[in-house]
Symmetry: C2
Subunit: 347 residues, 2 copies
């Protein structure tokens, strides 16, 4: 702002398989100027999320990431210039501001809803600031990842008290919240994560009953041991082999929420899925979850989550990168499972 | 009986992939003698069903087919000798009589239910004879296949009026009934079958709106054309590639009943399944169906089915083989998809 320039990260080339930092380029552009009814927002935090790889490959419902264009992504920030009656300067907002320091946005039209609300260039005001909760929480526990976790765990497939509820990517932005919601609903929660360190965190900080490292050679046996009465509920953030292993341990009438497919995001072709024979044999229900369907209930989730946070029954962890220039490397780490908590870039 | 001998078909050797008639052997054994509380039943019809291959490979919940033992299977027959107060001579019964001409059975204990009812050596009396309906119907439309179709179509995933409901193995024992139930509930039914002749039958005799031959080179395109508003409901009897193609044409919030997996029955190893990405993207629900869960409602289904039969709103077709000696070849035809209608052996 002081230089009158805006830095942005563009997609430089098509991504084969996993991304590398060289797939992106940091550029400087003239500061955008808000038109009538628009505001200029200085972005404070940028959310990095696995679906972005799907968007880069042109396969995500939020839209495709185009070559030589600014990467899309959710941000929180502050209005620094306003031609809009609703948004005074200083208003804290959440928006799809993109991988850039400043964004021009406009107020969400009255009556707007659904996916357009979330993928368009609209700013929504944040709730009043809480000295104990950084605004970046609205990109995680109090935002789409938290709502995703709640929709799957409390709306689509609520566990019975005492049920064995398994969650993958158990320390990630969605999985860590889903597991704690299930625990708060009375389930016995077993996490699946990608390192021993993450598993320790899942048990000690998140209060899961157990956590299994899927990179261990005897992962299927460890999972079976952690779920002696088999698996009643599964919140799947990864797909692939982990889903296949879980399906082989289902209890009767188990419920599986399908939320993410990391391997498929990376692949250039359609990958096969797991054998569905256990879904028949165990009379399981398998449900697809898209958070956009549940946006109308975001405030309800935020209220519940805020209460649980005050009671120390809901914790989260951020994996922060500093400055926009660090965003590509942070995204690469996320897609390799090397993040530990919700990935956020501090701008 | 007149010779005092009982003919039976035994499993002669382990089956690799698809069965052949040489995997079985017809033997003669002494006529079995009913003990106290038991009856001797002359079997009239033997049901042949795809799950039997799964049992041969030791993977079916009804139990494994053992080498050198009589093949298990459902039969209808008549009591010809009785040491039981309930079953007078001449009583028509349904039972798991096996691939043999005579069986020793006993009355179902009071209060028995669930899978034991169906896999044990228990005889249940048939409803009063109907001159218009052969007793073999109790192995098909009025028995487990019909109940399976009803459970999936009317209980697990009832279609909305006007919905596009797709069923595979559309002229088979289960699929033909499932499709007609969906049609009677107001759905627009599209069948998937393995020959042009079967597709003609599905449309002209069963009243489906359309039927697509999955052996056609452009099967995916034909299915898309037959379901221009995508697929709201799918009753899957086959799994494999057909399921994968259907998933790519799902409508939002589609419901899929998984009932059978022909390819998996044949395979020696666990086969992968379809990509589940469309289940997420379309927010679909996928449900496993096991008919044993619904046995308590068999009489209810029989009553409804009988009414529809009287109104000519429910039709079926049998693929009959004559004499027990023909059973192995008939089973091979069934597992190759060469049957046309419910496979029944007339003993």
């Amino acid at each position: 702002m002081n230089r009158g320039m805006n830095r942005a990260v563009l997609l430089r080339r098509a991504v084969q398989g996993l991304p590398s930092a060289e797939d992106f380029v940091l550029t400087e552009r003239p500061m955008p100027v808000p038109g009538p009814g628009e505001v200029l927002v200085r972005n404070s935090f940028l959310s990095l999320d696995p679906y972005m790889l799907s968007a880069i490959k042109g396969r995500h419902m939020s839209g495709a990431a185009d070559l030589d264009q600014t990467m899309q992504g959710d941000t929180v920030g502050t209005v620094v210039g306003s031609n809009d009656a609703v948004f005074a300067i200083g208003t804290r907002v959440i928006a799809r501001g993109g991988w850039q320091e400043f964004s021009v946005l406009r107020a969400l039209p009255a009556g707007a809803g659904g996916i357009d609300t979330l993928t368009g260039p609209y700013a929504r005001p944040l709730p009043p600031a809480d000295p104990d909760i950084a605004d970046s929480a609205y990109l995680g526990v109090l935002g789409m990842p938290g709502l995703t976790a709640w929709a799957g765990t409390a709306i689509l497939a609520p566990p019975e008290p005492g049920a064995c509820f398994v969650v993958s990517a158990a320390t990630g932005a969605v999985g860590s919240i889903a597991g704690q919601i299930a625990r708060n609903l009375g389930a016995r929660v077993v996490g699946i994560a990608g390192s021993a360190e993450k598993c320790v965190y899942a048990v000690e900080a998140l209060g899961f009953a157990a956590c299994v490292n899927h990179r261990a050679g005897d992962f299927p046996e460890q999972l079976a041991a952690a779920c002696p009465n088999r698996i009643d509920g599964y919140f799947d953030n990864v797909g692939g082999r982990i889903l296949d292993v879980v399906l082989q341990r289902l209890a009767l009438r188990a419920r599986i929420v399908l939320c993410g497919m990391i391997e498929q995001y990376q692949a250039e072709t359609r990958l096969p899925g797991p054998s569905l024979a256990p879904v028949i044999g165990r009379r399981a229900h398998m449900m697809g979850l898209v958070v956009y369907d549940h946006v109308a209930r975001l405030a309800e989730w935020q209220q519940l989550a805020s209460q649980w946070i005050r009671e120390d029954r809901l914790r989260w962890r951020e994996d922060r990168a500093e400055t926009l220039a660090a965003a590509p490397a942070a995204f690469v780490r996320l897609m390799q499972g090397q993040n530990f908590g919700k990935t956020v870039v501090v701008l």
